[in-house]
Structure formats: C-alpha cells, structure tokens
C-alpha cells in the first residue's frame, strides 16, 4: 500500500512543481550551474590554480581580448592574469561545495538534535531549545565572524562556521514537525505494536519531516552561499589560493575604482543568479509541499 502510493505522490509533487514556469527555469539554471561546477576541470579553458598556465603578462585584460599566446579571454582576466571564465567556474565549484557541505552537516546535526528534543521531551527538550533560541537570537553574520576570527581561514573552517549558524534552524523545524507527528495515530499504532523507539523515530517520524526539511535546507543553502561570499569578501573565509565567488568579487574590488568592472561584476552576477535560482526553487517547494509553512 505504502509502496504503491509513493511513486504517485512523487509524481503529483513533481507535476505541481513544474506548473510554475519561473520555478522550472530556476531549477534548470541551478542544475546547469551545478553541472558546470562539477565539470569545471573539463570545460574551463584554463586551470586557474596552475601557475604554469597563467601568465601575469595577460593581467587585467577586458572581456574578449586575446592573449599573446593567441587564447581569447571571453570574460577578461583578473589581476594575476587568470582567465575570468575559468576562475569563475572554479569559484562556483567552491561556493557550491561550501554551501552543500555546510547544509548537509547542519541538516544532519540539527535533525538529530530536533528529534532528540521532540522524542525525549522534559528538561532535555528545554535545554536544547534554550540553546536553539540563543543561537537564533544572534545575527548570523556576527556569530560567523566570531568563529572565523577564532578558527582562522580555510574551507573546513568556514564550513564549521556555517554549520554553527545553520543547525538551529533545522533543529527547531524538525522538533516542531516531530512533535506534531508524535501525537498522530500512526505513531500510537506503531507504539502499540511495540516497535523499538529508534525504529519509530527513523522509519515513521523522520520521513514525515522530510518535506519541511527539504524546504528549509534549500533556503539555508542559499543563505550559506551568500554568507560565505560575504565573509570571504571581508577576508575572513577562504584562503586566497582557492578563491570562491565571494573572494573573486573582493579581489576585483581593488580594480573597480579604475574602471575594470568585469573582475567584480561578473562573479557577482553568477553568485546572484545562483542564489536567486535556489531561493525561487525553495519558495516553490514551500508552496507545493506545504502552503501554510511559515518561513
């Protein structure tokens, strides 16, 4: 019965999702960008991390200019002579990795905390939820700033910082849904059958949290990517050797005053399109999965 029902529910959901042309386009854009990021080493004209292929003589070329070597830089070059297109593809890759990794870890940790809080109740619940409240009451950028000042630079460090600022959203969401589900008849029935609590938790309650989690995860991922870019721009996130989109924009800032706009503007546009498309997808998911879900 349940097995027979799944595919049709999924199909109905997919159909409902694609009824919005904006969301469909946004999803396509996101998929295309993800593919470009995954296959960056294959499609990028240049490996921007490979110093041998980068020539400082080619620095600050505007878009469309050709190098001495005869290679055309369709999107120009940056201060070190890196091809902007390649740098952006690699930057996109890093932005996505950071966003995805921090999102997944925060989701896993937050879900665990939320489930424990909902299932245990009592003082465990109140202590955990106090911590969540505290976490949510502080501005994310401030918390991330403190952490990065303490931790220093690096991909792992910024992922840790982003997890810390995100997990509480997941924990609160999961706890809310789990509490509602916990009171439902089917959970009572499962208890009546003397199923082990962990089994009930993971096979009965968790699946019902998934739609809500998906929505929160999408929107959090957009937030994380945007926050990472901001922190990198402030010089607090990633090391300059592995520039994400935010760092590319920051690097271009120095050249902005002299009219070399492409170094900052182009990665910014990519970032904008990426974050907006994720947000549009998230908004649509929210509408389709649960019209009354509060952000």
């Amino acid at each position: 019965m349940i097995i027979a029902e799944r595919p049709s529910r999924l199909r109905a959901f997919t159909k409902a999702f694609f009824r919005s042309p904006t969301a469909t386009i946004a999803l396509c854009v996101f998929v295309a960008m993800s593919l470009a990021a995954i296959f960056a080493p294959l499609i990028a004209p240049q490996n921007p991390y490979d110093l041998r292929s980068v020539s400082i003589l080619d620095n600050l070329l505007p878009p469309g200019e050709a190098s001495f070597g005869g290679m055309t830089y369709w999107l120009g070059t940056d201060g070190q002579g890196r091809d902007m297109l390649s740098a952006m593809l690699y930057g996109l890759r890093i932005s996505l990795i950071v966003g995805l990794a921090s999102g997944v870890i925060a989701l896993a940790f937050g879900t665990l905390v939320g489930l424990v809080a909902a299932f245990r109740g009592g003082w465990v619940d109140s202590v955990l939820m106090r911590i969540v409240d505290l976490q949510l009451s502080l501005p994310t950028i401030l918390v991330a700033l403190i952490l990065l000042v303490i931790l220093g630079r690096g991909i792992d460090k910024i992922i840790v910082a982003l997890v810390v600022v995100q997990w509480a959203y997941f924990a609160r969401t999961v706890r809310g849904v789990a509490l509602v589900e916990n009171a439902r008849d089917y959970v009572d029935a499962a208890r009546g059958l003397r199923l082990p609590p962990l089994r009930i938790l993971f096979f009965h309650i968790l699946p019902n949290c998934l739609p809500t989690l998906l929505v929160v995860a999408t929107i959090q991922m957009a937030q994380a990517i945007s926050l990472e870019a901001t922190l990198s721009f402030l010089g607090l996130g990633l090391p300059p050797t592995r520039p994400s989109l935010g760092l590319l924009i920051a690097n271009g800032f120095d050249y902005l005053q002299s009219g070399r706009w492409w170094i900052s503007v182009l990665p910014g546009l990519v970032l904008l399109v990426l974050v907006v498309s994720i947000n549009v997808v998230g908004d649509r998911l929210r509408e389709v999965l649960n019209p009354h879900l509060r952000g």
Partner: protein, 325 residues
Amino acid sequence: MAEFILRRILQALLVLFVMTVLVFFGIHVIGNPVDLFASSECTKACLDEIMVNLGLDRPVWQQYLIFLGNLAEGDLGRSFTHGVPAMSLIWERFPATLELAVAALVIALVIGLPLGFYAGLRPDSWISKAIMGLSMIGFSVPIFWIGLIMILTFSVKLGWLPAIGRGDLVTVFGVRVSFLTVDGLRHLAMPAFTLSLLMMSMVIRLTRAGLREVMTSDYIRFARANGVPEYRVLGWHAMKNLLIPIVTVLGMEFGGVIAFAVVTESIFSWPGVGKMLIDAISVLDRPLIVAYLIFVVTMFVLLNLVIDILYSLLDPRVRLGAGAV
C-alpha cells in the same frame, strides 16, 4: 507581569555571561599579540616586559576574572594598537554606525512601505510581480555586491556620489552627524541604501502579506460602507494594522542591521564600529575585538528585552507565561 520581566532580565544576563565566556576564551586561542608590539631586535627580557604590561603573563582564568571585574566597571581594556580604552574607541565610532543603521531603516520604510502597499493592492499586475521579484533578489543577493555595483555606477561611471568616507559633519546635541549637510548626505546615500536592502525586502513582503489580509477584514468594509474616503481607509485604517507587525519585526532586526553594518562599512570605508572591527581583526587587536562583540551582543540582548517587554505591554493577547513561541 513583574515576574515575566524579571525572568527575561535574568535570561538576558545569562546570555551575556555565556557570551563573555565564549568570546573571551575563543579570542584567546588566536595569535600572539606580543608579536605585534615587539620589534625584530626585541630580546627575551623585552618580550617578557610586554607580556607583563599587557597582563598576558597570568593564567587565562585569572585574566578572565580580571576582565569580568573590569567589565562590571564598564572597562573593556585598552586597545593594543591605539593604546586607548577600547570602550572609548567604540563610543567615539558608534554614532556613525547608528546614523547609518537609522538611515537604512528610514530608507527601508520610505521605499518598502509604498511598494509593498502597491503589491498588496494589485497582486496580479505586472508591476507588483516585478516588485516581488526585486524583493526576492534583495533577499538573495549579498549586499556587499550591491555596494560594489553602486560604487561602480554612481562613483566610477557617473561620478555623482563619493565612494568612501563620511563627509562633512555637524554637531547636534553633542553628537556629530552627517545627515544635516549636503556633503554628508551624499556620502551617506550609498552605504545607507545598500544596508537598507535586506530590511526593505522584508518590509515589502510584510506589507504586502499584511495588506492582503487586512483588506478582506470586516473593519475595512465597515469603514468603506460608511463612506470613509479611500485614502483614509488605506492610509490610516489599514496602515495602522500593518504597522504593528512591521515595527515588531524591524525592531528585532535592528540589531542584525548593526551587525551587518560591518560589511557596508568596510565597502564604503564608513568610519563606524564595523569598519573598526574588521581593522582590529586584521591586526588581532584582542581587547578591541572583545569589546566590540560584548558591546554589540549587549545591545542586541537589551533590544530584544525591551521589545519583548514593550510588546507584552502593548498587546494584551501576548501570553506572558509562554516562553519563546
């Protein structure tokens, strides 16, 4: 009521205490500030002397207790790099940040309310859809990039507005402000607008959603059935109902705006506490970093406390017994 307020105050104090511990010990694991002060030919003896001068020769827990004791007297230590009390630096620069944040708030309301109003009244027109799309972008795009685009457009290409600094100041009631001079306004425009974008998007969405709900209410129909002119129905009867949630949310977000000013201030070299923080981080000026964090967190906690109490006083429907919803 008194119990509720007391409990909220205790809660706020607890948060502050936890924050001092986290910030103090967290900051202590980074870098060695002695290196900042020691010249290259400094001997062991001279290094030790610097350590003693900065109070770094004691165990960390002792340093923390001293720090707490000083904190109780409002003293957050001396800036390593400026050599003056950290709090005096903060007080000196905070007005600039506050001015920026207030200006951003005003811009968010002045632009966001009418746009949200329009989108709420005509939800199906293409202009409304464009407004909502823009607010989605305002939510998504990192504000620092908007700042860059504005510098590129209005300073570099058009040359209309200065890209950095605060401009001419005048002193009003002992506070130096820039919004009363033309030059100051020109400097304020871009940073304030950039900082306002997130709030503006929020105002647009809250206004639109609120208006759509309010417009179907009986009291709006009643006002119309009595022949009250439309501008009065919308501009006062509906508006007043909208403002309550908007003011509440903005009040709670204001601390976040101060925190986000870090970004705006470093783009536009606005001489506020945010710029100061970034500079302090780059030279590892520990006392200044700690002072800033304690200051902002305190402000944030106080703001939340005041809003909670005000809200429970204003709206009798708020259940006092219930904790966070």
